[in-house]
Structure formats: C-alpha cells, structure tokens
C-alpha cells in the first residue's frame, strides 16, 4: 500500500529517474496524471499579474500612439527611434552611466576597506555592524530629505561648514558640480554600508589556516589582503557590483528629493527624465519605448558584468 502511494507521488513532473525506475519495478500499473501542474498555478498567476501583464502593457503602449482609450494608432518602432535619437535622453543616459561608474569606483573600494577595518571579534563587532548598517535602514526619501537639509548652505550643517569653515563657495541649488557632488556623496553614504556588509561576511568566511599559512610564509598585511582576502571576496564583490550598478543606474528618489534633477539638467538621470515623460507629460508611447530600452540596457550591462567577473576567476 505504501509502495502504491509512493508510486503515485512519484508520478509528479520532475521526479528523479531513479525513483521512477524503482516505482516501475514495484508497481507494474503506474497511475499517470498531470495534476501536479496545478501546484504551479499560483505562481503563474501571481507572476502574470505582477510582472508579465504590466510589462506587456508597456510593450503595448510603446508601439501605439494613444489619444484616448478608444482612439489609438499603431506606429511600429517609431517611438523607439525617436527616443533613441532624442538628445535629452542621450544626455541623461551618459550622465547616468558616469554616475554609476563613479558610484562603483567609490563604493566598492571604500566598502572593502571598511570591511577589512571592522573588528573580527569582541564586543565591538556588534557595535560596528549596527553603526555601519544604520544608513541602510533609512527610507530612500528620508535619505533625500536628510541630505537636502544637511547640504544647504544656510541651515544645513554640512553646507554651512563647507562655506564657513572650509571657506569654499558651495551651493547645490545653484551650481551643477555642487549638486552632482551632493547626490554622489549621498549615494556613497547610503550604499557603501551594503558593500561593506557583504565584504565583511565574505572576509569572515575565510578559514583561519589561510591566515596562519600567510604568517608562516612571512606575508605582509598587504600581501595577505592582495593574495588571500581579495581573491576570496570575488563572489560577494560580484554580487555587490551587480547590485550597486543596477541600483545606481536606476536611482530616482534621492536626487528627486534633493535636486529635482537640477539645477538645469545637471542631475537629471534617466529615471527622472522617464517619470517626467510618463507622469508629467503623459506621453505613454515614448515612455513605454523608453522603459523597454532602459530595461534592456540594464539587463545587457548586468550580463556583461556577471560574465566578465565570473570568467576572470577561472
């Protein structure tokens, strides 16, 4: 009887061949059905509602010119062409790419350095972890608000100090460079902790004998970092780079709160421009085409990063 019931259970899709053979040998007549597929249904439905259908709506908009729900024209790839040629989009694209590159160049080394400097044992471990993780616990728009105020030259501590203590002329609402630097430093402040925590976890997982062997070999602290710690951080750093690239390339809330994309277009990143087109101007066709191109580009770049980072390790 129990053999029978295992055979029924074994009829589900994706059962290992060996189990099937065993079931064949034990139960000559094997009941066969595809009812197990019903178990997948909830996932299919929820993914369809949350991802596939909304995305198809975007695809739908991207190939039509919509005047009203009943009045629309199929325009083919026209929106894609016009978005790709739009100088404003191109400028925002370059700006976002530069921003992401700067974010990676600053946050990855800084995060690794922070992780190396964090204590390994003792009471200070938890203190350091909490302190480092603090920025990660703050909601995006609050981070924006904090920095919006902090960097103000009149009432913000940071802005005031730069102007009055360092004696530099700093005003992010008027100067493009100042605005850019403010947004960049804000991102570094907000997200370096993520890199640091990932790297810290990676460092903690290195078995003690590696460090003992290095001691025996007379390796300097730098050699230990270069030849033991860094190579063994490859995995977590791959994840850190992917996460930080995707996230910084899609940055929206913080610059929106701090600068609103200005002054002028100085901090107008792709996502800010996109929301201006989609929500501000309600140009659903161009916004749809823009979204798909944006999505595609993030996918391709992540694929490239991932391939390069994993291949180089072999």
């Amino acid at each position: 009887m129990s053999e029978q019931s295992t055979a029924v259970a074994g009829g589900e899709a994706g059962t290992a061949a060996t189990t099937k053979e065993a079931a064949d040998a034990q139960a000559p007549v094997k009941p066969k059905n595809n009812r197990a597929w019903f178990l997948v249904l909830p996932v299919v439905v929820s993914v369809a509602f949350t991802a596939v259908i909304p995305l198809m709506t975007v695809v739908n908009f991207s190939v039509q010119d919509v005047f009203s729900p009943d009045d629309r024209i199929f325009v083919g790839l026209e929106w894609f062409r016009s978005v790709a040629r739009d100088p404003e989009v191109r400028a925002a694209f370059v700006r976002t790419l530069i921003f992401s590159a700067q974010v990676l160049l600053l946050e990855i080394p800084l995060g690794v350095a922070l992780a190396v400097a964090m204590p390994r044992r003792g009471v200070w471990v938890s203190v350091a972890l909490v302190l480092v993780a603090l920025p990660l616990l703050i909601p995006w728009n609050v981070v924006g608000t904090i920095w919006q105020i902090f960097a103000r030259p009149d009432i913000g501590l940071g802005g005031w100090a730069i102007n009055n203590v360092l004696g530099l002329d700093f005003n992010y609402t008027l100067d493009s460079t100042d605005a850019w630097i403010t947004v960049l430093i804000m991102d570094v402040w907000h997200w370096t902790p993520l890199v640091a925590l990932l790297a810290y976890a990676g460092l903690r997982s290195i078995p003690q004998p590696y460090f003992q062997a290095a001691q025996i070999d007379g390796a300097s602290a730098w050699a230990v970092f270069r030849h033991i710690q860094l190579p063994r951080l490859r995995g977590v750093l791959t994840i850190a780079i992917l996460l930080r690239f995707m996230d910084s390339f899609m940055i929206y809330t913080e610059p929106f709160v701090v600068t609103g994309g200005g002054p002028g277009n100085a901090t107008s990143f792709l996502s800010i421009l996109l929301s201006k087109i989609a929500v501000g101007q309600f140009d659903l066709g161009p916004a749809g085409a823009f979204s798909l191109l944006y999505f595609l580009f993030v996918q391709i770049l992540c694929y490239v990063f991932f391939t390069v980072l994993t291949r180089s390790g072999r």
């Binding site: 003992q212 062997a213 025996i216 030849h227």
Partner: protein, 379 residues
C-alpha cells in the same frame, strides 16, 4: 634542523581554568619522523601551533636547540606547516606559490628560482609549475602547500596537521610514501598529527600518544602495541582495543578476577622486579589485547571461566566476544576455531602480554601463578 625542546609548556584557552594542553616537558629530536596521535580535541593542533608560533603558550618556554623562540613570531621560526585542507594562494601559479615565502623575505631572484626548482624536482611538481594551483587535485595541492614550507633554507621542522583528511583514500598511500621519501631525502624533523592509528603506525619512527592534553606514551609503533603504558593507549591503538577487566591484588600478591587467580602481580619494569617490588594489594585493572587473549581450557590451570556471547567472522580470523564476571572481553582466534554463543570456555592471560593498570596508568604485569614473585628480570 634542530631539536625542538618544550620546557613546561602548557596552554589554556580560558585563562587557566582548563588546560587544552597540560604543562609538559618534551623534546622532539632532530631528523626523526614523529606521529602525534590522539582523538579529536586532545590538544594535538594546539601543540603543533605552539611549535610553529601561531599560538604562544600560556606557560613554559620553547627552544630550538639552545635558542629560545618562545617570543619569536611564526615567520622567524622557519617552520613548515601543512594544514588539514590545502591552503594555497589560489590565483597564483604553482611556481608563484612556491616562490611566495622567499619573495616575502626579499631573497634575490636567481636564488628563488634555484630553490623553487629544487623543491619542485623533489616533490615531482616539475610539470605543474605553470599551472594555476587551484586547478590541481587535492593531493597535489597538499604537496604544493608542503613545498611552500620546504622551499625556505634551514627548515627547523615540518609540521603536518592531518594532511591527508581531504585526500582520496586511494591516493593516501601514495602520498604517505611520498612524505616518507621526502623525509628520507631531506632529513627534516617531521611531526605528523593524526587521529588515525594506521597512518601513525605506518608512518613514524616514533609515535607520541596525546590524550586530554597530556602525552600518555611515546615510543616505536611496536612498543605501543605490545606494552601500552596507559589504558588509553591500549584502547586507542589496535583494533579492537585492549580488553580491561577489573581485578584485585590479594595480600599474597596474586591477581584475582572474580574468584579465580589469573596470575601473580609483578613489578612494571625489569628493575622493579629485580628489586622485588610489586604493586600493592588492592583494586586494579587487568589489560590484555584481543590478539594475546587465549580461549580454550588447559587441563592443569584452565584459567578464567567465561561465557561466549557472540562471534564476529572477520575472514582471516574471528573475534570471539565473551563475558568474564559480567565484563565484556574480546579474543581474537583462528578462523577455524569453533566457539558457539552460550558455551562456557576458559580464558588464559599470557604472562608476557598482560598488564596491570591503576588510575589508567600501568603499574605492573601479570606473571604465572606459580612463578617467582620477582619474575625473570626481563620484560
């Protein structure tokens, strides 16, 4: 190469409440191959790390010949250490791995090249020098980690901490003979930590048995097997381990198990016996290895009555489980011997191979019942 002398060395991980390694004085003599044998957690690795300087002992001093090195950091001790799993600089080639300790010490390039080539020849790594070390199999990786120790001039000792754990069983024999070969060719002092008695007995000139942080016996493999100085050695070495039967020494110097006199209590060493010294009357434990316990009565002095409880057929021999006064005893017999569970048999304890233990430490031997009280003056 040097004698490594530990003077009163002990280590505690919790500020002196418990000893991971009890204070001990011991000398590792130059150019010998030692096996450090003991169960997990007995302090083997602690002892090794004290020698290599990865741990500084809580008490005591460490000498290499006459140079005190207690405070000398690991890098200054010229110790080669191989860990349980291969520790490599994975993104480096085999050559760079071998050269790494020399480069750290700013050895001139031609000298590095000469040394690396010599070691790679010794270890049979010539064909692998250009390969990335992480692509080698686990056995070769262990060889490379060993090579990183051997490449330095004047290596004081090579410490191996269960180096074959991750290696394929089939490859273990090859690697072990390779290690012996290297030991023969280089003459380095070798300390090989293991919890596997076969590994220890086949490998070493001298086996040092460690239990609960203390050395309980050291000697040649045969010595540990034939005359265990401690009950632990009897249990740990040999398969199955030594039988231990509670007994008593009577006022007239006889060893009595239950109601049967099994022999006469003799002094532990020849000198003791010559001086007429024997263990004092009182409770004692009799130890005899299954290999030497003899089953089957002798009409004159039949021995200890026992009941057979089971027989394990091992192919070439049988292990007969018997019960002597409620205590399990195992005797190894010929495969042809016919003992059946439930039978009553007689167990004889051979005079040369039966010992007496008090507080787990050997205190004497068992001689023939009718023999002289002071034995032959020989052991």
């Amino acid at each position: 190469m040097a004698d490594i002398r530990l003077e009163g060395v002990g280590h505690s991980y919790d500020g002196g409440r418990t000893w991971a390694l009890r204070p001990m004085t011991w000398t590792w003599r130059s150019s010998r191959a030692y096996a450090l044998l003991g169960p997990s957690g007995c302090g083997k690795t602690t002892l090794l790390n004290i020698i290599s300087g990865l741990i500084s002992p809580t008490v005591g001093r460490v000498f290499f010949d006459d140079r005190e090195v207690t405070a000398v950091p690991t890098a200054g001790r010229n110790i080669a250490q191989v860990f349980q799993f291969p520790v490599l600089y994975e993104e480096m080639s085999v050559y760079d791995n071998l050269a790494f300790p020399l480069r750290n010490r700013k050895v001139p390039k031609p000298e590095i090249d000469r040394r690396v080539r010599r070691v790679s020849e010794l270890l049979g790594l010539d064909d692998q020098l250009r390969r990335r070390s992480r692509r080698l199999d686990a056995g070769r990786q262990q060889i490379v980690s060993l090579g990183r120790g051997l490449v330095r001039p004047e290596v004081a000792a090579v410490l191996l901490d269960e180096p074959l754990t991750v290696v394929d069983p089939a490859l273990k024999w090859t690697l072990r003979s390779k290690l012996k070969e290297i030991h023969r060719d280089t003459g380095h002092t070798l300390i090989y930590v293991t919890h596997d008695q076969t590994e220890a007995l086949t490998f070493a000139d001298e086996v040092v048995v460690l239990n609960e942080g203390a050395i309980v016996q050291a000697g040649e493999p045969a010595e540990l097997f034939l005359s265990p100085a401690h009950e632990f050695v009897g249990h740990f070495i040999g398969s199955p381990g030594m039988n231990v039967i509670p007994a008593e020494i009577t006022a007239d110097g006889l060893v009595r198990v239950g109601d049967t006199d099994v022999g006469r209590a003799l002094g532990d060493t020849g000198a003791d016996r010559a001086a007429g010294e024997a263990p004092a009357p009182g409770p004692v434990r009799v130890g005899v290895r299954p290999e030497f316990a003899v089953l089957g009565g002798d009409p004159v002095s039949p021995g200890l009555p026992v009941r057979v409880t089971g027989v394990d057929r091992m192919g070439a021999y049988n292990l007969v489980h018997v019960e002597a006064g409620g205590h399990p005893v195992i005797a190894r017999t010929d495969a042809e011997a016919r003992f059946k569970p439930g039978d009553t048999e007689y167990l004889r304890l051979p005079p040369d191979r039966t010992f007496l233990y008090r507080d787990a430490v050997r205190c004497g031997a068992v001689g023939p019942v009718d023999g002289p009280a002071h034995g032959e003056g020989e052991q």
